[in-house]
Symmetry: C2
Amino acid sequence: MITSRVDVTHVQIEHLKTLVTGPVQTSESALESHGHDESAWPSVSPSVVVYANSTEEVSAVLKYCSQEVIPVVPFGAGTSLEGHILPVFGGISLDVTNMNKLLEIKADDLMVRVQTGMHRMELNQRLSSYGIFFSVDPGADATLGGMASTGAAGTTTVRYGSMRDNVLALTAVLADGTIINVGRGTRKLSAGYDLTRLLVGSEGTLAVITELTLQVYGIPEKMAAAVVRFPNLAQGVEAASLIVRSGINIARGEFLDATCIRNVNLHDGLSLAEAPTLLFEFHGSASGVAEEAEAVREIVTEFGGSDFEWTTNEEERRKLWQARHNAHWAGIAANPGFRSISTDAAVPLSKLAEAVKIADEAWSASSFNHAILGHVADGNFHCFVLTDPKKPGELEEIRKVSHEITSKIIAMGGTCTGEHGIGVGKIDDLVEETGAEAVAVMRAIKAALDPVGILNPGKIFR
Amino acid sequence: MITSRVDVTHVQIEHLKTLVTGPVQTSESALESHGHDESAWPSVSPSVVVYANSTEEVSAVLKYCSQEVIPVVPFGAGTSLEGHILPVFGGISLDVTNMNKLLEIKADDLMVRVQTGMHRMELNQRLSSYGIFFSVDPGADATLGGMASTGAAGTTTVRYGSMRDNVLALTAVLADGTIINVGRGTRKLSAGYDLTRLLVGSEGTLAVITELTLQVYGIPEKMAAAVVRFPNLAQGVEAASLIVRSGINIARGEFLDATCIRNVNLHDGLSLAEAPTLLFEFHGSASGVAEEAEAVREIVTEFGGSDFEWTTNEEERRKLWQARHNAHWAGIAANPGFRSISTDAAVPLSKLAEAVKIADEAWSASSFNHAILGHVADGNFHCFVLTDPKKPGELEEIRKVSHEITSKIIAMGGTCTGEHGIGVGKIDDLVEETGAEAVAVMRAIKAALDPVGILNPGKIFR
């Protein structure tokens, strides 16, 4: 097992150069750019950055690293929020961003096959002329392989599911270099253990994903967006919960507090009223979206929602959701010099208002500025907490507050992470949530698939 | 490892009686009733039948069996179609049907918690007054634990998903008796490896499931059913594929050939025209279902569909779908003295017509009578093949034809099982489909979790 930092030797680096056709880099800038993600965890540089250009090259690198006991951290867009790509034990940052081909579009089967390094936005640009789209949309323009590895979700998960639901099959490379093909390009599958869903969300600790078969959807005939303001957080959250429970088939249901609205107004040139706000989207036929919008209007009005506006204007709709996707960066842009921590809790819908209140009160009582936003239709919300990178001691204090909130969330039946994953920051929370026995099973699977422990050590488990 | 039949000794049986509060049976009738499922594979009796009444009792039994190297086969309704509950290496049939409590109804969260032995129909009877329902509906009134273990699906999977999508969390007992709680009662989860979905569909080979948290849905405001006939199989299948690809939000889309229609007419007292037939269901608002039915009518008419009829009459709708659920038993009832094999293939939608044609031609060229039906909206279909139990040699011949068809299905990108699982019958097909490397990963996981190999040996792997 790897228990301390591994520095790759000159001889090993020379050998790695024979295994890949892409660059093998040790420059300061390459190491630095592969040493941090969008989280606020301190940077850690790898020993070397290796660019692989094919599944076979990934296989050759992993086989060699298993022999030499060199840690390997797969690297995509570097947009994870829990330190997934930090090479905390040194070794190799295995950059797969040049494996970015769209391999196959099967529009008739509502499926596409992509290489791991393709970005989600490029995929959707390429698909739009076929009348289909890939639904999972985290804020960042992440790579699809990274999204699969972290089990990403987004604003449309309430309707179309997360990566766990939309990766049908994949090719991956095990620690010893073995290439496996798991899952199937079919809408149903019951053939043996569900290795696809085991690898999705395994955060690069079990295998390196190199290709994905993804489910896509027909672009709906009509899409409409709606905005509504609330006098306070609680009423907005309660309204959102009831809308989902009532079975209205919304495609998106997002909450932003007044601070978030102010930030996105500044960042994206909008002029939304600075109040707790719900954003909705409806997908369907013209009459269907009108019917759904009306049903939502009725419920939000009951909960004190005002200024309900809805639109089928495509440009307005796009602008609104782009602003929502930019909320994280809008928050950073509004606070120059600061970095942010994004917490990530999910609870049963009936507990959402209570959970948001607990988090809001805890952060309000702390010395940190915060904002709250969330995929409320899924019972999932984030606190956006600001920290001054010149005061590294703040991180410890933020962790403490965050852990106190998380303990309460877990006690009420919630989870420490709805979509960001465990990474380096939630290792203890995972044990608290699911129990030492279940974590021991995860460890046993890890040991069976990666006995030397080279794959992304220090993530999920200590 | 267990390589030959294990007969439980008298001393062991006496000890087992001290571990459970339920019966421990060795009578001929108990052994016989636990020695076969709904498949045509030959019966194999266990040494002893043990009824467990709690998770703790399951734990005590498994701990003892690991020590004593006694095979354990979990037993629910006994309705599986691939020999899952056959104790091919003897040992214990662990009957969990007395663990059948509905533990919790969380209507506001659209979740319920049940014990493993609860039957799906009883669950829905109990839920109906809350305005919610559990969606997964295989033909049989299976236990929910059995449905989870085999990764069951049904007629509503196109809209609401299979067991893989609707089991949110579960309690299970590992081979050594360790009790684990995995997953979470939240709509989103990204906390470590997805052990829930690893155990769902693992066919009792990794753990014994004792409790389940299930996602449920609000009963739609309006439900409508539709029936349409086609001049031939191919046109019906093509129409169904196009309907799904066009994004019409159907809740069910089923195909039955003329023989199936004749069988269900006889069995359930219907008078449907004996022709290749598609059945649809629509869930939504009154105007929504009307709109969808009209969209479907337009497409089926293009493909030669005739006599399109739709109804929102609740009794007619129920009667139609009950008949569809009885199709398997209707086929057996129509052929007294025969048993049946139900094949189970799924392909990408664009290949469905071709795959059904291959299967239809192969069975037509054989000496066996067959019928074809399927969840065509999911690209999943079954051939219902009759065999005379007095001629056991027929099974070998049926396997041969079935394997030839399966090889072609796999070659066109399909799977050997969309919903029935691997069991004892498709062990070689699994290797052909996903490759020896992926199966080796499954075996490594099995070895890590059940090192002695007591859990349902002889299933999924040889």
